[in-house]
Symmetry: C2
Subunit: 177 residues, 2 copies
């Protein structure tokens, strides 16, 4: 279980509401961690009762109250402990590759179409990442140092997407033989 730690990782950077966290998961963290808003709200409840986080309620005019969560000292320590402990390799479950693996039961044209869809998806991600990289390139040395670690994860995103696109070219060529 590491949703807890992913939430701590985000709150360690900056406090935020469940909704904020949900958006941050969907944003710059989406290619290495995802979580639904239902998961997040339930997790925050547990973490609050475990004193890993604290809450501050902000009333807003018109809108419903906003619960803003902060990481506590206990939470920070839990995060440090978790980072230092050996990480078990993440289990990957990629339905797309399973479909290809067993793809002989359908026509090659179906598979080619699937791969092309994937290309579009990965190109979109790559374009989004390129924008974030430009932001980084525009920073001064100090700023760059501050965001170095998130930038490192972004680079993994970029290299991963490029690998997918390179693979797709190969795969389509193989299919057309």
């Amino acid at each position: 279980m590491s949703l807890k730690h992913a939430v701590l990782a985000l709150l360690q950077k900056e406090e935020g509401s469940g909704y904020d966290l949900s958006k941050r998961f969907k944003g710059g963290m989406s290619y290495f961690w995802s979580a639904s808003h239902q998961q997040i709200y339930q997790q925050l409840k547990k973490m609050l009762s475990d004193d890993l986080i604290a809450v501050r309620v902000e009333s807003q005019d018109g809108k419903p109250d906003k619960k803003i969560y902060q990481i506590t000292e206990l939470g920070t320590q839990a995060l440090i402990d978790w980072i230092e402990e050996p990480s078990k390799m993440s289990r990957v479950n990629d339905a797309f590759l399973v479909k290809l693996y067993a793809g002989e039961v359908v026509d090659n044209s179906v598979l080619a179409a699937k791969i092309k869809e994937h290309v579009v998806h990965h190109q979109k991600l790559l374009t989004a990442f390129a924008l974030l990289e430009e932001e980084y390139a525009g920073m001064n040395k100090q700023q760059r140092k501050r965001v170095m670690l998130p930038y490192m994860t972004l680079r993994k995103g970029v290299l991963g997407e490029q690998a997918w696109l390179q693979w797709a070219e190969e795969a389509l060529a193989l299919l057309e033989q």
Copy 2:
């Protein structure tokens, strides 16, 4: 839920026992699908009652009976339907990158060590994949055609591992600045 379909994908290639499937998941499929033996046995039970698979019991001398499962026509159709339906993108949950993302709470040397561990892991995988690629290279045209789709997924494995290694070099250089 696609463990069901991953099992169908394996049984469509060749019949096997729960234990066999477990090994096949750990082998050439591990970098895009993983499943524990407990999951597999429970899944097989469900799939059997849904007539997606059939079973044949083989008694072995000395060893306990072996239950060998085969995909049924209903199962094959379920597999085809699933392959053709649009696949939602798989959610990735990579604890390693979360640790890096929040890594400012620990010393850089801890992070460097983590990255180096990862390099070792990915190099091992790449070596294993290279062996499988050699096998493919040694095949004649007909054989190659027969295993083309699994080979395509293997190529994704190779390109993915190369991306990790390339990233790790970059990341270590960044850390040492």
